[in-house]
Amino acid sequence: MRLILILASLLLVCGGSAQNLSSLRGKVLIVDQSDQGEGLGQSQEDPEYVGLPGAYVRWSHDASSTTVTDGFGFFKISNANVGDTLIASMIGYSPAGWVFDGSSYVDIPLSLGVDLGQAEVVERKAATQFSLLSPLDVQSLNRKELAKAACCNLSEAFETNASVDASFTDAVTGTRQIRMLGLDGKYSQIQVDNLPGPRGLSVVQGLLFIPGDWVNEIHISKGAGTVTQGYESITGQINVALKNPETADPHHANLYVNGAGRKEFNYVSRYDVSRRWSTAILIHGLHNEQANDRNQDGFLDTPMQHHFVGRNEWKFKGDRGIRGEYAATYVNTEAVAGKASVFEGASDWNGWMGRMDSLTSDWSAITAIERIELSAKTGFVFPDAEWRTIGTQWNYYNHQHDQRFGKNHYSGNEQFFRGNVLYSDILGSTNRNFTVGATYVYNAFSEDFSVNDSLRMSPSRKESVPGAFVEYTWNPNERWSVIGGIRYDRHNLFRHFLSPRFHARWSATENTSIKVAAGKGYRTSNQFMEQLGTWASQRQWNLNYYGKTVPEEATNFGLNITSKFRLNYREATLTLDGYSTQFQNKLVVDLDRSTGTIDLYALEGQSFANSAQAEFNWDIHRRWDMRMAYRWVNAHTDRTSGNPTLDPFVSRHRAFSQFSYASQLNDRDGQWRGDLTCQWIGAQRLPTTSSNPEAFQRTDMAPDFFQVNAQITRQFSPEFSIYVGVENALNYTQDRPILAADYDLEPVSSSDFDQYFDASLVYGPIFGRMLYAGLRWGIVAPKAHGE
């Protein structure tokens, strides 16, 4: 796994143009241990060598030269130049280098074990990497970055990231949603291991099903992105790479508790089943039955939850270029929230969940989700032509979501099936390559929405979308690289989707690159699950588009400048970017028509979001890293009858700074680490409440506020570490977040509650300062053999 990280970091550093020269053949060897006894004092004479299949071989300067050894350990690599360094690597073995001396054949022995020294090379890499060479504006967050905040699930993983905003949907359920480039997370294409992730009915809550401790890396790509994965990306793509049989540690366990009563357990392990098959098991459990009402408004500040998520993945590595990844995931979550009085007394969990089935007087929010997901990826690399590959991706999920919020009950089911076949090849040289492919998506929704237990609406639809795409990548020289792609999808309900996308990178100097991006994206919407926050209110749903789902359509343009330089002799990175998203079609959400309604209608007029961001990362000292960022957003949507055009819950300004400290590793590789993150979140517009009686009014502009998080980690050895931290250290909480809750001495009458209750006008934290602690224990990859 570390080797992969090393290779990945090398990929960032290596560009290189290939010249066709002589080729080299060889064999990667390991000591055969099958017929030898174990034990010390073993004779070192005549160790028996055998070929190692599946090892990676590449030129150190050219990542694209990577080839894989065949079933007997043999390889053939072209473009050999005298003096170039050949690197052979394999999981579980120390990589070996060899300088090409003009010979035509070489044996390369690998020794067992991953050296800790190699691991440190990775540890020293910045936790967030910006690529100078990829034409895509991609930011990669590795485990080190993710460990800076002990995030429990993906919605909390962006706390330390400036590009993605995370905020609560409402004041009762504790659900967080993300925003990118000033637009809701639904406009970003979120993928898990390059397969569709949170989308459809799970577009908001799907982030909760991805435990932070399972995540190996997150790649955030701003701008339209690649066409190979579908038409759904508008503001960008977030790809979450989970730990898998190759990247996971043999065993890893994590325990977490926080002051809100949340207890979590994560366990990840991997096993090599045979030479070709390996498997990983990932388990996540969450339990919280603590009733918190710190602001004394009669509502729980945090939900009570039971979560279970389990995943099993199998990886196949064939001898002749066949690779496969097959995974199954099961999610079961239950959550209850609402009036604190509901959860006092003798009732237990089943009693609370039972409120789902019948109408009750006290306001509560009950949610149950069950989801099954299956995926299969198989790839084939042509043995004589490593640049020629065929990949297939299949996945299926069944998502069942039931909830009762007050008088409103919802039951939704989504079935999703997708097949994607990709073929990649080169045109003449590796400087020009292309990918063509075809996709088929089947997506069926069936929803029931009832108010006061009488069915109001049961929208259902079946989407069936065949599509085809082609993408061309051109690297004419080291200065330029271009990716252009186009895809066409034939939607059975909504005509043709044509998505052209373009990315280009120009390196002004060796250390400064300029990237441009332009592209188009589409999505179909699911109003009930996308506006999850509104459920925590008495707003009536006005669906003014006559039951038709609007396909949303938008164009995105962007510019990015990344520069790496040395400041006071130490590495620094400055990134400036600007993006603009223009909607041609949009499902407008209007919370301003009245305090008692949510209006959804098709866009008339214009809607756009412009954003700009500056981010500065500096490796300030041998022990210190720092990051400063500022982000500006202007999100505008024309609404009917002169309602405000500024999108609500979006802060125009956000500033961010972060410091990280890591002590010197001691002789057992122990370390102290500290992280401090400060954020300033500017004013946000809130939906207007001026027509309400004075007690139920709030300001139209929320105040700006600061948020400080800190964490200290003590790593005793790579196997064991503990951490303590604080979120919202300044104890900032939103003033009276719930309309028509009992903030004053006079209780709110039930008729007022029925008319004015609204817990969805949330701009900031509800719970206040929260302490947490946890531990990580694991067995890391095998150490080098020796005395």
Binding site: Q44, A96, G97, W98, V121, S657
Partner: protein, 122 residues
């Protein structure tokens, strides 16, 4: 007061910028691989060193340091103490004997693919 937290980096920048006299030197250090790089750079993880960067390809070690806190000779000594020859100071044989087999630059680039097994390979 809270604003100060956001702007703390700028204060630190000012602090670092007006520090003492600095110098940057560059000299050759023997070594083979990424592990060597790690060991060489790690040896200079001491007070007074601002930056140490060793290049596997060119064998060139760049060091920026505060001249009042550490001398050029100290830097060479620190590197030699972990087993790597510099162009001024040779590492002692005892220290050299203890470095990982694949880093033994004196015995020919053994990190490379010679067909003999490494010393510490069973």
């Amino acid at each position: 007061m809270k604003q100060v937290l956001i702007l703390l980096p700028i204060l630190l920048l000012a602090l670092v910028a007006n520090a003492q006299k600095k110098a940057e030197i560059s000299f050759e250090v023997s070594g083979v691989c990424g592990m060597c790089e790690n060991r060489i750079e790690g040896s200079l993880d001491v007070s007074g060193i601002i930056m140490a960067d060793w290049d596997v390809e060119t064998k060139d070690l760049k060091v920026a340091y505060k001249t009042k806190k550490i001398s050029e000779k100290d830097i060479h000594q620190l590197v030699a103490d972990v087993g790597h020859d510099t162009d001024q100071i040779k590492a002692s044989d005892e220290v050299y004997a203890n470095i990982h087999g694949c880093c033994k630059y004196r015995d020919g680039a053994s990190c490379s693919g010679d067909k003999e097994p490494h010393e510490d390979q069973r």
